[in-house]
Amino acid sequence: MTSQILTNSMSPAWMISAKKSLAFKIASRTLLGTACIFFAVFFYNYTISRQTVLKTVEDNTRYLTLSTVHKIENTLLGIEKVPLYLAASLESQVYTRDILLKGIENVLNTNPEIYGAMVAFEPFSFDPQSRYYAPYICRKGDQLQSYDAETTFNYSFWDWYLIPRELGGPIWSEPYFDTEGGNIVMTTFSAPFYRKIHDDKVFSGVVTADLSLKWLKNIISEIKIYQSGYAFLISQTGVFVSHPNKDLIMNDSIFSIAEATGDMELRTIGRNMIHGKEGFVPLNHNLTGKISRMYYAPLQSTGWSVGVVVPEDELFAALKSLTLELVLIGAVGFTMLFLVIVFISGKMIRPISVLADKTAEIAKGNLDIDLPVSKSNDEIGDLTTSFENMRSALKEYIFDLKETTAIKERIESELKVAHTIQMSFLPKHFPPFPEKQEFDIYATLIPAREVGGDLYDFFLLDDKHLFFSIGDVSGKGVPAALFMAVTKTLMKGIATENLTPSDILERTNRELCVDNDTMMFCTVFCCILNFETGELAYSNAGHNPPLIISAEHKPEWLKVAPEVMLGVMEDIGYKTQLTTLEPGASLILYTDGVTEAMDHENKLYSNDRLIQMLEMEKSDCAQELVENIILSVREFVGAVAQSDDITVLALTFKGDSHPDCSSL
């Protein structure tokens, strides 16, 4: 009871979860598929967009870098011309001190971006009396200050002098702090000049122009790209000349930062920069504090390099927000899609779940329940119709089944009664004649169905004659049982002490043949035994020949004339045969249910097996013989269902010896 309540209360919950999971499964799998496609498209789009953005940024930064380089180069080239011109004229003319000073002054007057200019001569080359001569004019506020005269200052070991001398060409110096001129970063352009002495081109000195890098810093610091993109400038040795972080300027180089941070990639980039290469590279946070992209290009004249840096988060800010929007739209879309699918699939599944509920009711046996009428012309409609058909067919079937079962039950109960009645026809009290010690008789009838067509009988005709018979009616079941009953009754009525077995058979046959419209027949073997003498009179109507077992337990077939069975021909005559049973001999009567019993391979039990079995049999007790034969048959057929009635009757003639069988 408890378990039933439990089961009943469980099942709706199970149904609900099943319904949910089906809708959920459809929704989740559809969504999974859609999501895969969405993310593939999304990823593709992101990658392509990123590349496009990078390409655009590269173009923008290249343009910006190159235009900056161009702007700076223009100025530098303009400045280069001035000392180059002066150097050229120094090669062709001999200047006096005054003219030289005037010339330098003119340089400053006409080139406001030049901070100072100098002509430094090789020792003794300007004036053989004077070792060093290097007039220098620079700006002090609005005035020009001249540092003329011979000097003890040995300038020959300064870069601006020595390098152009040794390289044999003009150079831009590394940037330097000018402590005199207000701590501004300067660079100097030095152009060597030569004089012809005895057809030899002899180095005679350099013309320099000092350039404050303030203007250059302005150009660089004015560069703004995106929100915080910036430009920087490094010298030929990688030192920062201009950078938004002022602490780096003239202190650090791109290589010192690379060393401090252990960033070998940055060092490689730095090397490319100072080697005059151009490129667009990713930068990690070591240089810029942020993951960035940089375009760099060289200033050909100075060998310096301009880098334009853009933090990646700014480059991809738009893409990032677009991506975020896409993800949001995607999320909302997916949620809506999920709800729609759940709604639609729920709606589609609802008839199925109603159907499931109803069929659960049907399963419980309620066949009168109405199934929902499906309006849809789809699989669910078909399913509902099929269920309806099934329900009505089931209902009809169960109705029929009930009726049939009732009939069958009635017949069965009638058959049971019939069985009881039939069995009651047969003598079944053993030993039947306890006072008669001369013989021992025992018989068993095992019907294949409730009632059978086999028969056996025995009774005393007088105080020394025993009538016994065995028979087998054609067919089985009730008709055979009725025919058997008739045959047995007739034989019992007809058999008297004056009649021979053949007389009994003839008379019985005549009676049976009257109005035998069903054309049934019956084989019978009947005997009359004089149990005082052992004389046996017997007659056979088409029955299996019995076996006779001698006192020495040797079985053999009783010789019987093959004659026609009862109920076939009205006027047929039968023969009575005679034999004498020696004391201790047994007679075995049986029906074909014994010899034709089949095992699972459809092999027959057969006469031979019966003989063999009896040859082994040492008993001369009738009951034991019968039971052993039945046992042998049962062992042979095994689990195969009995197909025919089995009847065995055994009679042991004891004569005067009267051995007792009651011990069995």
Binding site: D159, E166, Q236, F255, A260, R267, R271
Partner: protein, 329 residues
């Protein structure tokens, strides 16, 4: 910190006030000037640290560091008595001494030569012999070692004067150049040249170990005051030890000097320099105090100078070297 006034105390800090001996504030501190032979850098970290940590002051010395550089040659400054103390290379000092200048070495800080020759592998220089016929720039003041080196390896080179920078070498004007291991060599690396693109010749590995930086003064200076005699070297060496033990703090101090002097400097380079100065200054023998001048090294340098014709006579080491390590071992 000229006076023991209130400002001075405030500047020095309360902590220092507690450490300083009472007498330091009651008497005038003994004023001393000290000239590092070049512009501010970690090569002189020990002296900056000693000043900043009050190591001189606690010995009763008010030491003023003068600005070194090309315009202040230390030998001239010493001779002209524009500075009491200066750092000099041992070879320079021996030259001066042999010329009769009465200067004395009070401490030899550098024990190994940091002077090297750097060459470009791209010029085909992998061994000393490869220098033959190459353009090599030399500092005019430091030619003894390289010339002895060339002689030893029997190479003829074209000598080019070397400026105060390494730019001529970087720009390809010469195939090899002089460099201090603790300075220019790292500058070259930090100018984008990789170490594997360079060949280096360490003079000390070629029997030419010329220890460099030492502290010098005229012998008359030592006689001025006991505090000077005992304190300057001890405080300087305490400064060096402190700098080697606290390199980050030492670099912080060095950087304040470089910034004041507007010298382009970065911590990476200064740290390299400090580490290398440590390598060449620390004496592995625990029983020999830092700042000791090895007689063997003295002999090597003096002999090379003599054989190079730079000096005529080798000065007496006992007159030349006056160890002033009294309170620090």
């Amino acid at each position: 910190m000229k006076d023991c006034g209130l400002i001075s105390i405030l500047k020095t800090g309360v902590l220092l006030f507690c450490i300083l001996p009472f007498s330091a504030f009651c008497q005038d501190l003994q004023r001393v000037t000290f000239l590092p032979q070049w512009t501010p850098q970690a090569q002189f970290a020990g002296y900056y640290v000693a000043v900043q940590k009050g190591f001189y002051q606690k010995r009763g010395i008010d030491l003023r560091l003068l600005a070194g550089g090309p315009d202040s040659p230390p030998a001239d400054m010493l001779l002209n008595r524009k500075t009491d103390f200066a750092t000099l290379f041992l070879s320079d000092a021996i030259k001066l001494r042999s010329k009769g200048v009465d200067l004395v070495n009070v401490a030899q800080i550098g024990q190994k030569s940091g002077f090297i020759l750097v060459a470009k592998k791209s010029s085909g220089i992998n061994s000393p012999k490869d220098l033959n016929g190459k353009r090599v720039s030399l500092w005019s003041d430091f030619q003894i070692q390289p010339l002895a080196f060339f002689k030893k390896h029997q190479v003829q080179v074209t000598l080019i004067p070397q400026t105060y920078t390494i730019n001529l070498f970087l720009r390809g004007g010469v195939d090899a150049a002089c460099a201090m291991w603790y300075n220019e060599y790292h500058t070259i690396l930090n100018s984008g040249v990789n170490a594997d693109e360079l060949t280096t010749f360490f003079f000390d590995q070629h029997g030419l170990n010329f220890p460099e930086d030492g502290i010098y003064c005229l012998s008359e200076t030592l006689n001025k005051d006991d505090r000077i005699r005992q304190g300057v070297v001890s405080a300087s060496i305490e400064g060096w030890r402190y700098a080697f033990d606290h390199p980050d703090e030492a670099i912080d101090i060095v950087m304040t000097y470089t910034q004041e002097a507007h010298i382009g400097a970065n911590r990476v380079h200064q740290r390299w320099m400090l580490d290398r100065i440590r390598d060449i200054s620390v004496i592995s023998d625990k029983n020999t105090p830092m700042g000791t001048l090895s007689p063997d090294d003295f002999q090597t340098v003096a002999s090379e100078l003599k054989s190079g014709g730079i000096i005529d006579d080798i000065p007496n080491i006992n007159e030349f070297y006056v160890p002033c390590l009294d309170d620090l071992r």
